[in-house]
């Protein structure tokens, strides 16, 4: 399982392209054998971070430590890191086998066959073949070794790109939205496969995606990025249940975000009434954001709820119904397996542990482009 040693450390990393600050003072460490996902909307700097680790981009400021040594000035071909690129970047002039063998052929004979004193050409060739075929078997592509890469489907090219990187036995595999081009079903399949591959091989994976569901499915640790800054680091559950701020709450899953005031410990005032909550340590009467997940709102009889409202719309989402309920001047998004018809009066209830209180974000910019419930309230 995950080691406790820090394999990669990013210390105060900053990077700009022209006038755009893509990364602002990033601090992060990644442990050995960890599956880390860099999650964020497009343009948040996650790919740039990956490219800095891969060596294709250098940071303007800060240090990149790999296994205790500064890696900043080491070119990509000397890093013990391999990358799976977004559009795979397979070599179209080579067949599947040669693509996968590419990295091995560049290795010195003694690296390939550490036991042999003076390996013959034939031995080297055999060894390369053995390793390539083993890797192709792992990605279930051994039957396609002699195919040209342009004859493969997207999913198959994907597997080859992974095999080509993994065959070099990197300590870290970088994946830049590798499943972005695949259809939903195939993507789900590959997510599970990638995860099991990672566990089987015991390699550190750094995975870039904008798909929160993908991140939650696969990762040991999720790093949520926005506008070049880390918003939150944690495992899927803690990020989902205890988002640090409104951005994270809204980006990971659906949320109702309300402007609220923390009256005192364990009591918050919002939507015209007080709610009991489990948060403490805020200043008295501090303005805060209050987050309630749609699935945490229970619809009950009109007279027994904390708030009373009217169902405005209903959508069937497969497993549950998504309803918008207007109560206390706010439009609430509610997920429920029971359907209440439009126009019916309902009561809304939340248990204290499902109310999440977070500090107001200092940087108002972080709200840009994020639709927040409060803005809909006025409608």
């Amino acid at each position: 399982m995950i080691d406790d040693t820090r394999l990669i450390e990013l210390i105060n990393i900053s990077k700009s392209f022209g006038d755009t600050h893509v990364l602002k003072n990033i601090n992060l460490y990644i442990r050995r054998k960890e599956f880390v996902t860099l999650l964020g909307p497009s343009g948040c700097g996650k790919t740039t971070m990956l490219r800095i680790i891969g060596g294709f981009e250098s940071a303007d400021e800060g240090q990149l430590i790999f296994d205790g040594k500064d890696l900043s000035s080491v070119p990509p071909y000397k890093r013990r890191v391999n990358t799976v690129f977004q559009k795979y970047a397979l070599f179209t002039h080579m067949n599947v086998f040669d693509n996968v063998a590419f990295g091995l052929k560049l290795k010195k004979p003694e690296e390939l066959l550490p036991g042999e004193k003076k390996p013959t050409r034939r031995q080297i060739k055999e060894e390369i073949k053995r390793r390539v075929m083993r890797m192709l078997k792992l990605v279930k592509m051994d039957a396609y070794a002699k195919r040209g890469v342009d004859q493969l489907s997207g999913g198959q090219q994907q597997r080859i790109a992974i095999a080509r990187a993994l065959v070099n036995e990197p300590e870290v595999l970088l994946l830049d939205e590798p499943l972005g081009a695949l259809d939903l079903k195939l993507r789900r399949e590959m997510q599970l496969e990638l995860k099991s591959m990672q566990q089987q091989l015991g390699i550190t994976f750094i995975y870039v995606t904008h798909d929160q569901e993908e991140a939650l499915t696969m990762s040991d640790t999720i790093v949520v990025l926005n506008a070049g800054e880390i918003q939150q680091i944690g495992d899927g559950k803690s990020i989902y249940d205890e988002p640090n701020n409104a951005f994270v709450a809204n980006f990971i899953g659906d949320s109702n975000i309300l402007e609220a005031v923390m009256v005192k410990d364990y009591e918050v005032f919002a939507a015209g009434r007080s709610f009991e909550c489990v948060d403490e340590g805020f200043a008295e009467n501090e303005p805060v954001d209050m987050v309630v997940r749609p699935e945490d709102i229970m619809l009950v009889g009109e007279d027994v709820g904390m708030l009373t409202g009217e169902v405005k719309s209903v959508l069937f989402k497969g497993v549950h119904y998504e309803m918008f309920v207007e109560a206390a001047g706010i439009r609430w998004k509610v997920h429920s397996t029971t359907m209440y018809p439009v126009g019916s009066r309902v009561g809304l209830t939340v248990v204290p542990s499902n109310i999440h209180i977070m500090h107001k974000m200092a940087d108002e910019d972080a709200y840009v482009g994020v639709p927040i419930q409060k803005s809909e309230a006025g409608q």
């Binding site: 891969g54 070119p75 071909y77 391999n82 559009k87 970047a89 179209t92 590419f102 560049l106 070099n168």
Partner: protein, 287 residues
């Protein structure tokens, strides 16, 4: 209805045929009469290779042939190297510099041939007298060193013609290679570095093979353009003649069957080359 449609298809076909007739009849006549026994370019007097045989007895023509081939060969090799490296470099450049270079490369392609020709002619005539004294000093020194007669001085002749041909050939190579680079996955080069290639190895093992169809097309085009050029060659040489210049001076004296034969050979050579180029990529993509 079907009949009417057929009629229209026939009409279209005949029109295309007429245009082809217009384009090819002079050439067909030329080729046919290059095999004529007699001197006439209108009356058929029997088939013979007489005029072709005569070509190979003519020392001037053989010299011109030699010049044409040497110039084409050297210009092609140099322009392929310059153009391919140039394309790789431009492709990796920042946008502003890249578009400046590309516009600069369009210049010799859009400039009238005659202006390119005279501009190069002026530059050569102006600069050679300044360079030659230095070259002659170097030659004297080298001659003494190797106890052999070495003359490095340059005249307006084959050497300047080669320089001129490289100049107009290279953009063709560049514009054959650039689209291939654009088609490449932008991460291919990085993937090669990622897998352990040094930058030079990555270029040799990944970029060059991926763009090689473009390089070969560019080389064939450069060869064709070079074999085919008249105007620029005409202005950049003084006494040395290539085949085009020879045909021109002969044409000024009127039509001769031996020049028919020579033209036929040149024409068919270029035709063959162009068909090969076209098999590889469509000419329209480059033109």
């Amino acid at each position: 209805m079907v009949k009417l449609k057929r009629f229209f298809v026939g009409l279209k076909g005949s029109y295309i045929a007429l245009i082809l007739l217009f384009l090819y009849s002079p050439i067909a006549v030329m080729i046919a009469f290059s095999f004529n026994e007699g001197k006439s370019r209108a009356k058929w007097e029997g088939f013979s290779f007489k005029w072709y045989a005569r070509l190979f007895e003519n020392a001037d023509i053989l010299d011109a042939l030699k010049v044409t081939l040497i110039v084409a060969a050297i210009a092609t090799v140099v322009s392929v190297i310059l153009g391919t490296l140039g394309a790789i470099g431009i492709h990796a450049c920042k946008k502003g510099y890249a578009s400046a270079m590309i516009n600069l490369s369009y210049l010799p392609m859009t400039m009238p041939d005659i202006v390119t020709g005279v501009s190069l002619m002026m530059m050569f005539t102006f600069s050679l007298p300044m360079i030659n004294p230095i070259l002659s000093d170097i030659s004297a020194w080298l001659s003494a060193l190797f106890k052999k007669d070495i003359d490095l001085t340059i005249e307006r002749g084959m050497f300047t013609m080669i320089l001129a041909h490289i100049t107009f050939d290279t953009p063709y190579v560049l514009f054959s290679v650039l689209p291939k680079l654009k088609q490449m996955d932008p991460n291919s080069y990085e993937a090669a570095l990622d897998l352990g290639c040094r930058p030079m190895t990555a270029i040799r093992k990944v970029i060059i093979p991926e763009i090689s169809p473009g390089i070969i097309t560019g080389a064939l085009l450069a060869l064709t353009m070079s074999l085919d050029d008249f105007v620029i060659s005409y202005f950049t040489t003084e006494k040395t003649q290539n085949l085009s210049i020879l045909v021109y001076s002969a044409a000024k004296r009127g039509v001769k069957p031996d020049i028919y034969a020579l033209s036929t050979i040149m024409f068919l050579t270029v035709l063959a080359l162009l068909i090969v180029v076209n098999k590889r990529s469509t000419l329209e993509d480059i033109g």
